[in-house]
């Protein structure tokens, strides 16, 4: 049993998944933000956001992803974004965000 406080949560597994129900835009972002904050407050350090239901993401959404990344990073954590659609993948790559946190596409959509 390792007791390095930063990396582990006693109860939950290290990797935690979060799946937004739909798009991440100005309307939905604030609520998602609250969820994510809570997760981190619970001690999640390795967060995987599953974007399978997300088609559209706007500036608020991107800002949210980056803020999440920033928060996790400060705690030596890590953000992964998975099942990203083609378009979103392009967008994230265009902002070179894929260089900061892991972004993977949806295998179904290729």
């Amino acid at each position: 049993m390792q007791t390095e406080s930063n990396n582990q949560n006693e109860q939950d597994p290290i990797i935690r998944f979060y799946k937004p129900e739909g798009d991440i835009t100005a309307s939905s972002a604030p609520l998602i933000r609250v969820d994510l904050k809570n997760l981190i407050a619970e001690g999640v350090r390795d967060l995987v956001i599953d974007m399978v239901n997300t088609r559209v993401i706007d500036s608020s959404g991107i800002g949210l992803l980056v803020a999440t990344h920033n928060s996790l990073q400060r705690l030596n954590g890590k953000l992964t974004v998975k099942n990203v659609s083609q378009e979103l993948l392009e967008l994230l790559k265009a902002f070179r965000l894929d260089k900061h946190f892991t972004v993977t596409g949806d295998p179904r959509l290729g």
């Binding site: 972002a29 604030p30 933000r33 994510l36 904050k37 981190i40 500036s59 608020s60 991107i62 800002g63 949210l64 980056v66 803020a67 999440t68 990344h69 920033n70 928060s71 400060r74 083609q86 993948l89 392009e90 790559k93 265009a94 902002f95 070179r96 260089k99 900061h100 596409g105 290729g110």
Partner: protein
């Protein structure tokens, strides 16, 4: 998965390649300039490294970035004078750029590459030359930021110092990813590329901190910070940035006076930006106006594409614009045509079709233009190749290049690359001798290789010349013979040039030892094959001991070539115009004279040379059919030979003909009535074909037009057929196969006739005839590409005329000349030639025949030539055309003005004939002895024109015989001096020695007019000398002598 990077990386790579294209030549120039540094050139190379570095950084191509960075540092030191571009320095730089090129070509694997060696070399060079203080700056980084900007960039001090060079502004700009980029429909990469077109991005960072954390207030600011160096002053830079002023920070402005080497920054970046900005504003007011090269989309010149690697092209915007216009025209014409077809209006349909015709041609030309690239693309690499290779071999070689700007189709240039490289390397390796061998041979110790490109006759010509040891034809021939590539019999007939050309046979190598440098003799045949594939021809010309000249001729474009259409048995074929040198028609009655048999080949006599003949139907296995002109029936033509059975037959080595053979042994011969008669189908149409050194005549049924055809390759399954080079679809939708000139020659195993005895005899005769007679000819054009000539002595005057001056009267052309109506004739009136072009400048050549002045309407320009060229009386003979000769490289028709005038004014001829009859009655008969057909005909005409009756002979012997028969009538002898059998002097002596004739006046006609000859002539008994050929003087002289004679009698 779509990789966003792909399109942008491609662009980055394309730009980098452009930068790298000229780098070698530039570095070599820098090297040779030595301490005399050309700022512009060094800057150019520096910028190349700089922009490669910038882009590499952005795409995270770290190895490339690092290498480019170190290279840049080195170049900067050269620029500032801290390091001189000595050869060893330049060598390292060349290697560095080579490595960059390699890494770029395989950029995906570039991060795995090992660049330590070159990096060490570069930094070693740099630190060796840096002042210690500066060395530190390589290692230190400085924090760069501006008020309100959260991001801090870490920039190497060295780089910052360079950015502040007194010419560039330094900006720190903040883009907001959302507001300034995404919302405006741009992408970050677009922004970066836009920036990099007008300056250099020193560093760029997308600041994530701007988004804060989940605990912060949500922000939609995602700042993207760029440290940017550019010559553009703020007013203009703002246009590019398209940002609110608060997001643009000027960190440094260049001072008003330029001091490019060691500038002093106005403000260090540590100072508060306000100060910098206010100073910058002042400077801005005095700023010069800069051109914004990238804001205008136009690329002002077509940038060269790197050979062999590019699948993109840069095209001049003006070409694109004309393509757009033409496309528009095409649409309009098509609409017009469709409309006309719907309404059935034929006239409009024709107009529409014409327009489409024109537009299509222009469209095709313009599209071809987009593919044109300058040959410098390949030429440019040769200085380096020659330099390195000659160093390796220890030879001193100078390379001259001319015609770099000559343009060719992209594919042809790419295809030319390998063959040329091979030949240049050959020249360096095998051609140029070592310095001491050269000095011993009396040559300068350094060898010279020259590369030339130029346009000639619708083709591109590339010449590679070296002044080395040349190629020994005997050696090549011996090698080919030893390797079984040619037979003894074939060798017998070859000229020196043909033997040298054997070097193109596969498997040949005459190098004494296999040298790594140029390969194992696998070269020249591949060169030829590659060039053949491009539709080109290669010729090799060498003088052993003096040097070698290789001439490559290439079409301007690959896909569309002008070709001659011909047919056999009604089936049409095409042959590329580039191989066709002449078209010859031989009527049945001339066959016996013009066609001979030498050895096993049938040959055509053409102006003193023997051209081997081949029947296309035989080559292609088409059964020849004879059409009976009356019954219209087709029967198989079983005549096995082209030559008439009465044609002279020669053995290869003999000069005398074999007794005429009776029918040849080729099986039974059905001697039908058709074959015995000569009629139209016995005429021969021959296409004289030249491929490389070999010339032959292809016998076909019919000749058609010359058309431009699109070449379609034959399928793989046709590859073994050497006779065909491709296929095309003709205007009527039918397919025509394209003949391969060299393939046909190879298939039929043509033997060159050049070496045969008969050919030598012929050419000797030709030479003799050619040198003795000098003609003075007035040359002009009929149609723009038809050249004509008439003897100068006939010409009274030449006038330039306008179309308006020409009148028509009674079905004939005339014009007003000196208040008299001058009748005009044109060649078209009597002969099968082209119509005079309406746009041509026209002239009238006035001469006097049959007692009248006549004008010959023709095209200007007009020239006078003195020539000893041979006049061929057979080839192009028609009414009004006396014969032909090759003058200044053009086949020229020698006009027979007498025939022309006789055709249009038979009444004058009748008059003249009456006068002649009178003179016969009066007894004025002149004996003319002259071996040259041409002069004999001319003189005869003049004399007859003046009313004399002429008896002519071809040599002294014949003249003597005729004299004996006609003694009572002959009143004067006019003789040439140089004649076979019995020459003029001999004839004169014979006449003087004979009681019967010794009082006859004898006029000697000669080109020889030296005093010695005159004396000899007079001693022999000549009464008077006349130089060829002055008509008036001659006629006056004749008249004189006859009158005085009469007086005497």
């Amino acid at each position: 998965m779509l990789d966003m990077d792909d399109a942008f990386i491609k662009e980055y790579l394309a730009e980098s390649r452009e930068h790298l294209a000229d780098i070698e030549n530039d570095l070599l120039e820098i090297e040779s300039a030595g301490a005399n540094i050309d700022d512009n050139l060094v800057n150019k190379v520096f910028r190349a490294a700089h922009s490669i570095k910038g882009g590499a950084g952005f795409f995270n191509l770290h190895k490339i970035q690092e290498l480019a960075h170190r290279t840049e540092n080195a170049l900067d030191m050269i620029r500032s004078g801290e390091m001189t571009p000595a050869p060893d320095v330049v060598n390292v730089l060349l290697m560095a750029f080579d490595r960059l090129r390699e890494l770029l070509n395989n950029y995906q694997a570039s991060h795995l590459a090992d660049t330590t060696e070159i990096l060490v070399a570069l930094s070693g060079m740099v630190s060796a030359n840096l002042a210690p203080a500066k060395k530190e700056s390589l290692l230190r980084t400085v924090k760069v930021t501006a008020p309100g900007v959260k991001t801090v960039l870490n920039i190497p001090e060295f780089d910052l110092d360079h950015a502040k060079d007194g010419r560039h502004y330094l900006y720190l700009i903040e883009y907001d990813m959302i507001d300034d980029v995404q919302r405006k429909g741009k992408r970050p990469l677009d922004v970066l590329f836009l920036l990099s077109n007008s300056g250099t991005i020193i560093d760029a960072m997308f600041e994530l901190d701007g988004a804060g954390t989940l605990d912060d207030e949500p922000s939609d600011r995602l700042p993207f910070v760029v440290l940017f160096s550019t010559e553009l002053a703020p007013q203009m830079a703002d246009v590019i940035f398209d940002l609110p002023a608060s997001q643009v920070h000027v960190l440094y402005s260049p001072p008003a006076e330029e001091s490019p080497r060691m500038p002093e920054p106005i403000a260090g970046y540590e100072r508060p930006p306000e100060v910098v900005e206010s100073v910058a504003l002042e400077e801005v007011n005095q700023a010069q106006s800069y051109s914004l090269p990238s804001l205008t989309a136009a690329v002002s010149e077509t940038a060269p594409a790197q050979v062999g690697m590019e699948s993109t092209l840069r095209v001049d915007v003006s070409v694109l614009e004309s393509l757009m216009n033409l496309a528009g025209e095409l649409v309009l014409s098509r609409n017009q045509l469709l409309d006309a077809m719907a309404s059935g209006d034929e006239h409009i349909m024709q107009i529409g079709a014409q327009r489409i015709n024109l537009v299509t041609s222009e469209l095709q030309e313009n599209i071809m233009l987009t593919r044109m690239q300058p040959v410098s693309n390949i030429f440019n690499k040769f200085p380096r190749v020659v330099r390195d290779l000659s160093k390796e071999l220890g030879k001193e070689i100078r390379l001259d290049i001319s015609g770099r700007e000559v343009e060719m189709d992209k594919t042809i240039i790419e295809g030319l690359n390998e063959p040329m490289t091979h030949m240049v390397r050959n020249a360096v390796d095998h051609g140029i001798e070592s310095a001491d061998v050269r000095t011993r041979a009396g040559k300068p110790p350094f060898g010279t290789i020259s590369l030339k490109a130029f346009h000639e006759a619708g083709q591109v010509v590339v010449e590679i010349h070296d002044d080395g040891k040349g190629i020994d034809p005997a050696k090549v021939a011996a090698s080919a013979l030893a390797k079984g590539l040619i037979t003894q019999e074939q060798l017998k007939g070859m000229s020196a040039k043909e033997m040298t050309a054997l070097i193109f046979l596969p498997g040949l190598s005459t190098a004494e030892k296999v040298s790594d440098v140029s390969g194992r003799g696998v070269g020249m045949d591949v060169v030829k094959t590659n060039l053949d594939k491009l539709g080109g021809k290669v010729e090799i010309d060498s003088v052993p001991g003096k040097g070698t000249n290789i001439i490559i001729r290439l079409p301007l474009t690959l896909a569309i070539i002008p070709s001659l259409l011909l047919s056999v048995n009604g089936e049409r074929f095409a042959i590329p115009q580039v191989h066709v040198s002449e078209l010859i028609h031989i009527s049945a009655d001339q066959i016996q004279k013009r066609i001979e048999v030498v050895g096993n080949s049938e040959v055509l006599m053409l102006r003193g040379a023997l051209i081997p003949l081949v029947r296309l139907s035989d080559v292609l296995g088409i059964e020849k059919q004879l059409e009976d002109p009356q019954a219209g029936e087709l029967t198989p033509d079983q005549r096995a030979r082209i030559a008439d059975r009465r044609s002279p037959h020669y053995d290869f080595d003999s000069a005398e003909p074999i007794a005429a053979k009776s029918e040849d042994a080729n099986g039974k011969r059905k001697r039908s009535a058709i074959e015995r008669r000569y009629h139209a189908s016995s005429n021969l149409n021959i296409v004289v074909i030249t491929t490389g050194a070999l010339q032959y005549g292809l016998v076909v049924d019919e000749l058609h037009d010359t058309v431009e055809i699109v070449v379609k390759p034959l399928g793989r399954h046709f590859k073994g057929l050497r006779e065909y080079a491709g296929a095309t679809i003709l205007g009527d939708g039918n397919v025509a196969l394209i003949l391969d000139a060299s393939g046909i020659a190879a298939k039929t195993g043509l033997v060159s006739m050049a070496g045969s005895r008969r050919a030598q005899v012929l050419s000797a005769e030709t030479v003799r005839e050619g040198t003795s007679d000098r003609h003075s000819l007035l040359t002009f054009r009929n149609a723009p590409d038809e050249f004509c000539a008439i003897p100068m002595d006939l010409v009274v005057r030449v006038l330039q005329v306008e179309d308006g001056q020409i009148e028509w009267a009674g079905g004939r052309r005339t014009m007003q000349y000196r208040n008299v109506s001058l009748p005009l004739v044109t060649l078209k009136d009597t002969a099968q030639v082209a119509e005079l072009h309406t746009a041509q400048e026209k002239g009238v050549v006035i001469f006097n025949v049959y007692g009248h002045e006549v004008g010959l309407l023709a095209g200007m320009p007009v020239d006078v030539l003195e020539t000893t060229a041979l006049i061929d009386r057979e080839t192009l003979r028609q009414k009004g055309v006396y014969g032909s000769a090759i003058l200044d490289g053009n086949t020229t028709l020698i006009l027979d003005v007498f025939e022309m005038v006789a055709a249009s004014h038979p009444d004058w001829v009748a008059e003249a004939e009456q006068a002649t009859e009178k003179s016969i009655a009066g007894g004025d008969v002149i004996l003319l002895a002259e071996d040259s057909d041409f002069f004999r005909g001319q003189v005869r005409r003049y004399l007859e024109g003046d009313g004399y009756f002429v008896i002519s002979a071809v040599d002294g012997q014949e003249a003597w015989e005729l004299l004996e028969v006609n003694a009572s009538k002959i009143k004067l002898v006019l003789t040439d001096i140089e004649m076979p059998r019995l020459d003029g002097l001999g004839l004169t002596r014979a006449i003087r020695a004979d009681q019967r004739y010794n009082k006859l006046p004898i006029i000697a006609l000669t080109s020889l007019a030296g005093e010695e000859d005159t004396a000899r002539g007079l001693a022999a008994g000549v009464t008077e000398y006349q130089v060829k050929l002055d008509r008036d003087k001659l006629l006056a002289g004749v008249k004189n002598l006859l009158r005085s004679d009469e007086g005497r009698d």
